[in-house]
């Protein structure tokens, strides 16, 4: 995260004035200077004042923060608007945290500014539409301009929840297609581009590949039979000159990462870097391949045993009444699994909630949305030599209660129950089309270990060595400096053989039974240039997060390989639909046609991104659309750079508002 940008306090002070200007204007004649710009516009000059009577030129204030590249992107969009002569643009940039504070705020939508921000999505198509358009996320992340469209809300919910979509993948894909078409037509938001994740390796690293999402960087590249992916080091040859048959085992991979892996306690960390290193140590019940398909992993097999058409009111009889705090939160020490949909902790003094014990009871009585059964592999060993049992899985779910990631986990999970030593039942609260991926989305920890530590206490700096079942075991960690992990000798996949372990594996015989690389050493190097320099100087074999300009150099060099994969990140510009004249869809359509997506990718990102012709990237197409190409064909024309169409619309509006520029 770049933090080179001034937190302009002046910008803050401007808010109130602009807000008043906006309200005043909206109250009078239906023209609005979109935030007035009262503080910066020269007023009362002797020249022609005719501009004041019409809509155009319209003052537009674009705001952004964070990465340099995002700021340059916003400046490019502003320039594109300015050139039409219909807009007076102004770009305000903020330091990233100050910016988040500013835009994730319920009053921000009243300002009439156009915020630009970047988020990262997942294989779940919901991550590309719900957070930024559902009215439930106004004032939170990241419906910044207060988009509140009841029909859209309903459509968004119906794409993920309910028995129909949970049982019918085609219906679900069609529902999402409808969402994408609605979004493309309403243009509440302009998606600009989808990120491309890159990693650069020394040519001695063979068979390397990047995972679509950054958190999988190391674990995925080192050993991922679901995609027949394994990396090895061979300093005698150059990457590309050798294939699986020439695989060399052993060696140490050294990498440089940009931020400290702050936590080794999976539920108590949500930052990318921590997840990235946790990936080496821990495993889950299932695993995703690079296309988002789910394969059983620690579970030998799993099945969906039952789906019931319930919503959260079904748990009414299991709920307890608890008080609320003065700030409007539920006052409970235990994890709140679900809340009664009719109760509102902000308004009521008491609310009905479902607590873990009662949730298990409900599941046992047959009140649940979905019932999955996971049968664990036998003989899987943890790093401390103990064997994985159903108890570990159940204890892990309980360990996720009241953790940093609990809101995501218990958004869908109702309860996890051990049936016998190697069988676990996991229940979902309501029929959820994402359940297959989301329900088992936890790392399995050792029950012995978590019984001994406080929540968040799996921390090698405090003397608690993380214990998982993963291919690497924890070695050494010095905060903000380096991390070492080494191959786990009793790794279960290796003892069993990959073809034996995974019934779904259909890779070549030469594919190894475990990772080829013996140890991984990771240096924490925050500075981009230093990281690139260390790679160039041969001090590390791998790095990522390299500036797009430097990537070109590495790409041209023979001794390095740049690995790129379309990732889940996206940037978007949101329109202040609650402020005139942005409530006019023609204006949004015009501006959307002036967003130079291709130029942003080519010039600002040096080609290391994909223009967002649709609101969903290709990698999320699995569950997110019936036919990606058809979707793109329909939606792309609506998002292409088209000055003529934009000017036509603006002209039409100008005529209507009584004045042309």
């Amino acid at each position: 995260m770049a933090n080179r940008h001034e937190a302009a306090d002046g910008g803050r002070r401007l808010d109130r004035r602009n807000l008043l200007a906006t309200i005043g204007a909206a109250g009078t004649a239906g023209f609005a200077g979109c935030g007035g710009q009262g503080a910066t516009e020269p007023s009362g000059s002797a020249g022609s004042d005719s501009d004041d009577d019409g809509l155009f030129p319209l003052s537009v204030r674009l705001e952004t923060g964070g990465k340099d590249e995002r700021i340059r992107m916003v400046e490019l969009i502003a320039e594109s608007l300015q050139q039409t002569g219909y807009f007076e643009t102004e770009v305000e940039t903020y330091e990233w945290n100050a910016y988040l504070d500013r835009v994730i705020n319920p009053t921000y939508r009243e300002n009439g500014y156009l915020p630009a921000i970047g988020l990262s999505g997942t294989f779940n198509p919901h991550s590309f539409c719900n957070v930024i358009h559902n009215s439930a996320n106004v004032g939170a992340c990241c419906n910044l301009t207060g988009i509140s469209d009841p029909e859209l809300d309903e459509l968004l919910d119906s794409a993920r929840y309910g028995i129909e979509v949970a049982e019918d993948a085609d219906l679900r894909a069609e529902t999402y297609d409808e969402i994408w078409r609605t979004l493309a037509e309403e243009r509440y938001t302009s998606f600009t581009h989808f990120s491309v994740a890159t990693a650069v390796t020394d040519a001695a690293v063979h068979g390397f590949a990047t995972w679509p999402f950054q958190e999988g960087l190391f674990g995925y590249a080192l050993y991922a039979p679901q995609d027949e992916q394994v990396a090895w080091i061979d300093r005698e040859r150059r990457a590309g000159d050798a294939d699986l048959a020439d695989l060399v085992t052993g060696g140490t991979l050294t990498g440089a990462i940009s931020t400290n892996p702050g936590s080794f306690d999976p539920p108590h960390s949500s930052d990318t870097t921590s997840t990235m290193v946790q990936n080496l140590l821990f495993e889950g019940l299932v695993v995703n391949d690079a296309e988002g398909n789910v394969h059983p992993w620690l579970a030998e097999r799993y099945e969906l045993r039952d789906v019931r058409d319930v919503d959260r009111t079904a748990y009414e009889e299991y709920m307890r009444v608890v008080g609320t705090t003065a700030e409007g939160a539920v006052d409970a020490d235990e994890q709140v699994i679900a809340r009664h949909p009719e109760d509102d902790p902000a308004a009521d003094d008491e609310v009905r909630v479902l607590l873990p014990e009662d949730a298990r009871e409900a599941a046992a009585d047959g009140t649940y949305g979905m019932w999955f059964r996971y049968e664990l592999h036998e003989g899987v060993e943890f790093h401390d030599g103990s064997e994985l049992t159903a108890e570990d899985v159940v204890a892990s779910y309980e360990y996720y209660e009241n953790s940093a990631t609990a809101p995501q986990t218990f958004d869908s999970v109702l309860a996890a129950v051990a049936v016998d030593d190697h069988v676990v039942d996991v229940y979902a609260q309501v029929p959820d089309a994402e359940a297959e991926r989301e329900l088992p989305g936890i790392y399995v920890l050792s029950a012995d270990q978590i019984a001994d530590v406080e929540k968040g206490g799996i921390d090698p700096r405090e003397g608690v060595t993380p214990i998982g079942t993963g291919p690497y075991e924890f070695g050494e960690f010095v905060d903000e400096e380096y991390l070492e992990v080494s191959r786990f000798d009793d790794y279960w996949v290796e003892s069993r053989g990959v073809a034996e372990a995974f019934a779904w594996f259909d890779g070549p015989d030469a594919f190894p039974d475990g990772p080829a690389i013996d140890a991984v050493e990771v240096e924490v190097v925050p500075d981009d240039a230093t990281r690139a320099g260390a790679l160039r100087n041969g001090e590390v074999d791998l790095t990522y997060d390299v500036a797009s300009g430097t990537l070109e150099d590495f790409d041209d060099a023979d001794d390095f390989v740049v690995h790129a994969v379309e990732a889940g990140g996206y940037d978007y510009l949101q329109y202040p639909v609650n402020v005139e004249p942005w409530d006019d869809p023609r204006l949004r359509e015009a501006v959307n046609h002036l967003v130079p997506r291709q130029r942003i990718v080519d010039n600002v990102l040096n080609g290391w991104a994909e223009p967002a012709w649709t609101p969903i990237p290709r990698i999320a197409r699995g569950a997110g659309t019936a036919d990606y190409d058809a979707l793109e064909a329909t939606v792309k024309p609506l998002n292409e750079y088209d000055v003529e169409r934009a000017e036509e619309l603006l002209e039409e509006m100008a005529a209507e508002y009584g004045e042309s520029p």
Binding site: A7, A98, I104, L119
Partner: protein
Amino acid sequence: MSLRRFVLRRALAVIPVLFGVSVVTFGLFHLTPGDPVSQVVALNPDVSAAEEARLRERWGVSGPVWRRYLEWLSNVLVGDFGREIRTGRAVSGLVWRRLPETIALGLFGWVFAVAIAIPTGIYAAVNKGKLGDVASRVLALSGVSLPNFWLGLLLILVFSLYLGLFPVLPPSRLPLYHPETLRYLLLPGVTIGTAAAASLMRVMRTSMVEELNAEYVTAARARGLPERTVVFKHVLRNSLVSVVTLAATLTAGIVAGSVVVESVFNWPGLGSELVRAINRREVNVVMAITVVTAVAVVLANFLADVLYAVLDPRIRYD
């Protein structure tokens, strides 16, 4: 006034300075938009406003600034710098771990500065007006003018990337006292010491030139003492007074420089930690490092004052 009273008075003056530094830093930091809690929860749509308020309360980032300051101050007075918000670990442990790294780097830079400045200064003064003098003055001027981040990057580019003589990354696995560490210290140490060396050299030269023109030098020469004895035994000693005091004051520059230089070289000291802490809005870490730095600078200045008084009996303590 006696020397003891002078020292005592100087020592007492340290207190309001430290107090002022802490008030200003604390105030600025807390009045800037964006706190660590909002950073932690900002992108998580599932955290309610109430939970956020609870977190704020817990981490002491709610309530009026003055009250938070008093709470902070009362803890610091008993040696408790609080905890890091992200990790919950004690800040003092962090500071103690980073401090030796910064001291090692600063010391190296300081020794480098003195080792370069004094001989060059003497040489320039003795050869005043000649080519060597002009050359060393030009060098000093460039040394003062080069921004240290630029110098650092240039040194990395030339000595690490082009010539491959030095590593880019710091020795994360070597203990600080290992002889190999010197190789890693060289580039950042030179970067941090260059500006100090340049200003020190100029002062050395000026005071030396001044002393060389003094009457006692003429007297010594008239008595037939060899030039070597005149320069090194008489002149050097007298002209060192201002240099010694300046060298102590330069600590402030070195400490300030460490913030930039440590970031450029990824050196795991207090300076790079400070940058990181500011970006993450880690209030307690920023405050702890600021206080430690302020103490170091104030102590150095205090030492300079005392040294000055001790070395030069002509100075009156008032």
